[in-house]
């Protein structure tokens, strides 16, 4: 545990030798990576390699067995950790959107700042409308999730997460469940965020997108990071045969 104040020159998220098993299945076998403030990293890799498990550990949706995860200098897996405080700093967007179906788009975005952060309603509403506007959904404020397309729902989900003013955003294959036509609108929203300086950890299969927005790309296979590097070298100079095979299949 670190009580020293975190400063922006230190990694915002620091993952050190993380191990995690589900029963007998060891899903993470010593993963380490750092994310600086404002950095965008992409995690790629075959299905079942533990990508989702890894990023779910960052906001304590999953526990870890060994190792350390620090967010702004705070150990995530300290038993005394205030999980709610952590989650106010870490936003997450899921593959299946997981919008609240009984609430409109606007209410979905407003709910957490209102009920969790207890911010004043007028201010929250103003910010929520601005966020919906920012993800290009002006006019859809009153729509229920069931009335929106997958891409639209996913953009509401992004806005909902942003409404908490997080310091880092986690994206878990957020375009994997979408129709091809709507993938782009969601990627654009994320790119806009990234360019705005938001720290992002993305699990994605969109290689073109990763190449474009990522500062660093990590390739995982069977619970370890096999290879990593900036996109300029990662795609052209992959050395590990597993990375090469994966890239040849997907590109």
């Amino acid at each position: 545990m670190s009580d020293t104040a975190w400063t922006p020159d230190q990694p915002l998220v620091s993952i050190r030798d993380v191990h995690k098993s589900f029963g007998d299945l060891e899903v993470l076998k010593g993963v380490s990576l750092d994310v600086m403030k404002g950095e965008v990293i992409c995690i790629i890799g075959p299905s079942g390699s533990g990508k989702s498990t890894l990023i779910r550990c960052v906001n304590a949706l999953n526990t870890i067995d060994r190792g350390s995860i620090m967010v702004e200098g705070q150990e995530v897996h300290d038993p005394d950790l205030d999980k709610l405080e952590l989650r106010k700093k870490v936003g997450m967007v899921f593959q299946q959107y997981n919008l609240f179906p009984h609430k409109t788009a606007l209410e979905n975005v407003m709910m957490a700042p209102l009920k969790v952060l207890k911010q004043p309603p007028d201010e929250v509403e103003k910010r929520a409308r601005a966020l919906i506007d920012r993800v290009n959904l002006t006019g859809k404020e009153g729509a229920y999730p069931g009335e929106l397309s997958g891409g639209q729902q996913q953009r509401v989900a992004i806005a909902r997460s942003l409404a908490m003013n997080p310091d880092v955003m986690l994206f878990d294959e957020v375009t994997a469940a979408l129709d091809p036509e709507t993938v782009n609108e969601v990627l654009l929203a994320i790119k806009d965020l990234a360019q705005d300086g938001m720290t992002c950890i993305l699990v994605t299969h969109e290689m073109g997108f990763a190449r474009e927005v990522a500062d660093h790309i990590y390739f995982t296979d069977r619970g370890i990071i096999v290879e990593h590097g900036p996109p300029t070298t990662f795609f052209s100079e992959a050395k590990d045969p597993r990375t090469q095979e994966f890239l040849s299949q997907i590109l």
């Binding site: 098993s21 589900f22 906001n59 949706l61 999953n62 526990t63 067995d65 897996h77 038993p79 005394d80 950790l81 205030d82 999980k83 709610l84 405080e85 989650r87 106010k88 870490v90 936003g91 997450m92 899921f94 299946q96 997981n98 919008l99 609240f100 179906p101 009984h102 709910m111 957490a112 009920k115 969790v116 989900a157 909902r160 997460s161 908490m164």
Partner: protein, 292 residues
């Protein structure tokens, strides 16, 4: 609010432990059966009923007309003192059973393992016990009077019966609540959790509003079952419709011809009361199914 880490169980809330419930409480078998009761089968029943005294007791000189006349005279008494009590018992039982059942159902999904297990055990115990046995236990175990301060309150039998019937109702409502909550996809819990909702907030703001409607049809189904079961308490001497019918027949010298009119009337009045409830239950279920 701080959460203790829970070993290696992620989202323990959603899978308290594995077991197979003894049949689903959510199915509306009873309402379906009741709602599909055709008027024609009722007519046949009535015809058969009219034949009964004629065949068995042909030698008697007490006629069916006299029996019906007796019923007619006793009817206001049987309904206003008897059936009304059945209804009062059904309302109160449902009220108490629902409140206790919701608490128990929420207990079943508690992240505190001991609470979840205890609630599950209590639920299974009362769901699978014969109602009459529960009734007898409560009748005999409860004190006859309660002293508060210097006043002594007599607890009427029918009130004890309410508590007896409320136990199985509570257990079945508990299962309805647990089932409905667990029917909400885990993604909803995770989304709320990652937005820093507390468990209580997640439950009350996100999960329960989504499954509230799903609970209404099975809840009504249990109300109809309960109402039909209220004559059980006549076995304990509570003066509800069946007890009063028997008292009335006794006053009419216990002619066997009285049986069919009196008990037939009891059947009809319960049917008339529960049939619309069953129809409405099924309609609601269909409507909610379309929404989802």
């Amino acid at each position: 609010m701080k959460y203790p880490l829970q070993g290696n169980t992620d989202l323990a809330v959603l899978k308290p432990f594995n077991y197979s419930p003894a049949g689903s409480v959510q199915d509306l078998q009873f309402s379906r059966w009741l709602a599909e009761f055709s008027p024609r089968s009722l007519l046949w029943l009535a015809l058969l009923a009219c034949l009964w005294p004629g065949i068995v007791l042909a030698q008697s000189n007490y006629t069916m007309a006299q029996a019906l006349d007796a019923l007619w005279r006793w009817l206001p008494f049987v309904v206003s003192k008897g059936f009304v009590l059945n209804l009062v018992v059904s309302f109160l039982t449902m009220l108490i059973g629902t409140i206790a059942g919701v608490i128990l159902g929420l207990g079943q999904i508690s992240p505190i393992r001991a609470v979840a297990r205890t609630s599950w055990f209590v639920t299974q115990l009362f769901r699978n016990s014969p109602w009459l046995v529960l009734l007898f236990i409560v009748m005999l175990a409860f004190p006859f009077e309660i002293t508060i301060g210097s006043t002594v309150y007599q607890i009427p039998d029918w009130l004890k019966a309410v508590f007896g019937l409320a136990l199985p109702i509570m257990a079945n409502i508990s299962e309805i609540v647990r089932g409905a909550i667990q029917s909400v996809p885990t993604g909803q819990w995770e989304a709320a959790e990652s937005l820093a909702y507390t468990r209580q907030q997640t439950l009350w703001l996100v999960i329960l509003p989504q499954c509230f409607k799903r609970m209404i049809p099975p809840w009504m189904n249990w109300y109809a079952i309960l109402t039909m079961a209220t004559p059980l308490i006549s076995l304990l001497g509570v003066e509800e419709i069946v007890t009063l019918s028997r008292q009335a027949m006794e006053a009419e010298d216990n002619h066997p011809e009285l049986l069919v009119p009196f008990f037939g009337f009891a059947l009809i009045i319960f049917f008339a009361y529960c049939y619309p409830i069953a129809r409405y239950t099924l309609r609601l279920e269909k409507r909610f199914a379309i929404i989802q």
